[in-house]
């Protein structure tokens, strides 16, 4: 991995600074029972490109939420079981994910204009997000020169 910095700017939705490995989910993660392990934080959703990945300490990069309105409860459950994510990067806000953000109380950035973090960030990037300023830094990219 080479050192590089990319600065993305969105709206800070929940304050605080977090660092972690990005997990980019272009099709989000379904909120239905069983799609995310309530007690192990593992993505079990069929056909999800990150199936088998544990969300603990990760920065989740999502277009928004999808599926059941139980979305937030499964992330909350995993967090209380010791598998909390470090932060959220969300292309555009919706209420399913808004509910999850307020319930988990970890930094979140959303409502990007003119740029989609799903297109810029890669799974495996080490990123720092500032939910107060609404900024994202890539500390280490998985992309080769």
């Amino acid at each position: 991995m080479r050192q590089r910095k990319i600065l993305l700017k969105g709206r800070g939705a929940y304050p605080g600074v977090a660092e972690g490995i990005a997990v980019v989910c272009p099709d989000s993660i379904a909120g239905n029972s069983g799609s995310l392990g309530d007690t192990d934080g593992i993505i079990y959703e069929t056909h999800n490109s990150n199936r088998g990945v544990c969300i603990k300490d990760k920065i989740l990069v999502l277009p928004g939420a999808k599926g059941s309105s139980g979305f937030s409860a499964h992330f909350k459950s995993a967090a209380l079981a010791g598998f909390a994510i470090a932060g959220w990067v969300v292309t555009k806000m919706d209420t399913r994910i808004g509910g999850a953000i307020v319930s988990l109380c970890v930094p979140a950035i959303t409502d990007f204009e003119g740029v989609d973090p799903l297109q810029v960030l890669k799974t495996g990037d080490l990123v720092r997000i500032d939910g107060t300023k609404g900024t994202i830094e890539v500390l280490k990219s998985v992309l080769k020169d």
């Binding site: 939705a13 069983g34 277009p63 599926g67 937030s72 459950s77 209420t95 509910g99 319930s103």
Partner: protein, 426 residues
């Protein structure tokens, strides 16, 4: 900047008690996360609470007050229950267990007791025990323009699209806090100008049955872009509410749609122009028969073979559907080694009992069950089965995340036929 009324400020300052204060803090944080600048009054709520499996992370030795405070109110210390907001009619969504029968669905007495204890605790403060994912069958109908919260995604679509009521797909925790405070952020579909459609789907196939509408919803959801608000456009034959229920439950399975306009059918879509506010759609797609067949192939495993579980009633069935099933099963017997579960809410179940339908159904050795479904009961209820038949695209899609069993998907008649034969025929 969030602006609160004097009443809301008093609630936030604790003047109406610690319970409502804690919930109001969550609602205000929620408003800031969304970017809302005020709150609106919520008149109806359905809540996905009880001993649901998202609470499996909690220490069940502690009392429910502690669990409730931690999970829904973000409070480490227990806050005693107080009454829910009087202006809001609050009730429970689908539950994790039938209200009376745990044995037929392979669940434990401990779990059954816990679920009822949790439901009793919240009913004492005003969350009525209804345990339905189709609450409109038993009187929960928000009016046009009325603000609601619900944790049932198909009900979000039904209430917005068909009743013209105003609501978003709220999370469990925030919906609970809305029911306690009677408030939710004035944001998203609570705001009139945000309700127009932006994704136009021309429907080439004419849906005629519940099964057709189920597949149509699933298919539209597959192609709907994130944050899309679909408009289904065609010269539709008049659907009934049960058909739209199937369409909305499957649409909410493959997408995050919260409103769905159907031209000539739903009140905010007399025609395409009405639904689009005269604007051009941001996205257009033509749904053809091949798209529908693709969906069917995704939902129903290939081949024929023996089956050991058949489940009908996702979402929960109406009284007239129980009558139709009773007529299909009268004088018949479910095959030995196959279980047939029929799901509804318990109020409808009581009406079906009094009408004689339950006796006709259970005379075949099928079970009429209430409040839940295999998906919500989770693995413990269905892990003993290896080949399932599911009615309802939502159930057939999502159950695969919980099991390695083969899953067939069909309409009610095909499901009944499979249960009577003990075998699915492709």
């Amino acid at each position: 900047m969030l602006h609160l009324t004097d009443y809301e400020k008093k609630m936030l300052s604790g003047e109406f008690g610690e319970f409502r204060q804690a919930a109001m803090r969550v609602i205000c944080d929620y408003a800031r996360v969304l970017g809302a600048d005020k709150l609106c009054t919520v008149r109806r709520a359905t809540l996905f609470i009880g001993a649901h499996h998202y609470l499996d992370c909690m220490d069940m030795q502690q009392d429910y007050t502690s669990i409730f405070s931690k999970f829904y109110l973000n409070k480490d210390e227990p806050i005693p229950f107080e009454r829910m907001a009087p202006e809001c009619a609050s009730q429970t969504c689908a539950a994790a267990c039938d209200l009376y029968d745990y044995k037929s669905t392979n669940l434990s007495k401990d779990f059954f007791d816990r679920n009822n204890n949790f439901l009793n605790a919240t009913s004492r403060v005003g969350v009525s025990i209804v345990n339905s994912c189709t609450p409109y069958y038993v009187g929960w109908v928000p009016l046009m323009g009325e603000h609601f919260v619900t944790n049932e995604s198909s009900n979000t679509l039904m209430s917005n699209s068909v009743f013209g009521a105003y609501g978003n797909a709220d999370g469990v925790e925030t919906a609970v806090c809305s029911a306690i405070t009677g408030r939710t952020p004035y944001w998203g579909l609570h705001v009139r100008e945000n309700r127009y459609g932006n994704a136009l789907f021309k429907i080439e196939t004419q849906p005629k049955t519940q099964f057709d509408w189920d597949l149509l919803g699933y298919t539209v959801g597959r192609f709907l872009p994130p944050h899309g608000k679909p408009i289904l456009s065609a010269d539709f034959e008049q659907p009934d509410i049960n058909m739209l229920r199937q369409c909305f439950s499957s649409l909410a399975t493959t997408s995050a749609a919260e409103i769905c306009h159907i031209t000539g059918i739903t009140p905010e879509a007399r025609d395409e122009i009405d639904a689009l506010e005269g604007k051009k759609p941001e996205f257009e797609y033509v749904i053809a028969e091949k798209d529908i067949q693709e969906s069917l192939a995704m939902l129903c495993d290939e081949g024929s073979g023996p089956v050991d579980l058949v489940s009908i009633g996702c979402p929960h069935l109406s009284l007239e559907e129980l009558r139709d099933i009773a007529w299909m099963l009268e004088g018949e017997k479910v095959a030995k080694g196959t279980d047939l579960w029929i799901w509804t809410d318990y109020a409808t179940q009581v009406m079906a009992e009094r009408s004689g339908y339950v006796a006709m159904i259970e005379g075949s050795n099928a079970k009429v069950l209430n409040s839940s479904c295999p998906l919500v009961m989770r693995e413990e209820s269905h892990k003993r089965y290896s080949i399932m038949v599911m009615n309802g695209a939502k159930q057939a899609h999502n159950i695969r995340g919980q099991t390695d069993a083969k899953v067939y998907f069909g309409d009610v008649k095909a499901c009944i036929k499979a249960a009577l034969r003990g075998r699915w025929e492709a």
